[in-house]
Symmetry: C2
Subunit: 137 residues, 2 copies
DNA sequence: TTAAACCTTATAGTTAACTCTAGGTCAATA
DNA sequence: TATTGACCTAGAGTTAACTATAAGGTTTAA
């Protein structure tokens, strides 16, 4: 079965070898096997697991919580409920992050318009008596 | 004209007084005036500016770059181009963040389904010979 | 007039997530 | 066989963004 070195995995996932070793040290990669001389040999499935770790990180989950999930995975079927609940909670988190980011986008677009018109007029004074059109909250 | 104390502003914007003083120290709030005894007196327009600062923070912009923007604001119409360009760049950033977060959501949803079916079956083995349906990249 | 509840500054401490260094092992090649 | 380069660990250093503490000033209500 083909395996990959730490630098190959780092390149593939746009991480550094430092980061991967750090993840391992934090207990995120207990499944990665070693050669006789101690070198990490990543399997295809390990790379898939790392993609899930990166996904959880992208939701803002701290590494210590990701470790809990990894531990549950090692414990087998008895933790299926926890893992299901965790992903449902992540789903809710990402939903509200998307909502927040869309609100942010609205204000940014407003500012793009504001500065485009000001730039065309040569001065910001053109907006001197604007009413507030986009309440932020 | 009505003004607000630092703790009133903190409450309104869901920040701490520590954070607001930190922002001030970092040069993000040069427009906030003081009473004779040195206490900060926030105007309505200062709160609006803070909302813009929070918006930029929500796009992942570091405080030092937000400071550049604040400095440009103080310099007047000669910096309109920079400010316009900055918001256009932020728009592109948020667009790709939204894209990324939507991809993340897809994987999370897949995992919700994966664990729901496993939970119903009582074992993860039900997915033993699944093909990969959602390539992450 | 004094105590509580604010405010101030300067400075130190915290936390997460890396990021790097030092000192060493190992396998392949000139 | 000597050297190059990729790997290893332990532990130190970095950075951003807070977060807290100490020591003191001001305002307000009893």
């Amino acid at each position: 079965m083909k395996t990959y070195s730490i630098s190959e995995v780092a390149k593939e996932l746009n991480l550094t070898v430092y980061t991967l070793r750090y993840y391992d040290k934090e207990g995120l990669l207990p499944f990665v096997e070693r050669t006789a001389s101690g070198t990490r040999a990543f399997k295809e499935s390990d790379i898939d697991a790392l993609k899930v770790i990166e996904c959880l990180k992208a939701t803002g989950m701290p590494i210590k919580e990701i470790k809990n999930f990894i531990d549950w995975c090692s414990e087998g079927d008895s933790t299926l409920r926890q893992r299901f609940d965790m992903f449902m909670e992540r789903k809710a988190t990402v939903e509200s992050q998307l909502e927040e980011l869309n609100k942010t986008m609205e204000l940014i677009k407003h500012k793009c318009w504001y500065y485009k018109t000001a730039l065309d007029a040569g001065t910001e004074d053109i907006h001197k008596n604007d009413k507030i059109e986009i309440p932020i909250n």
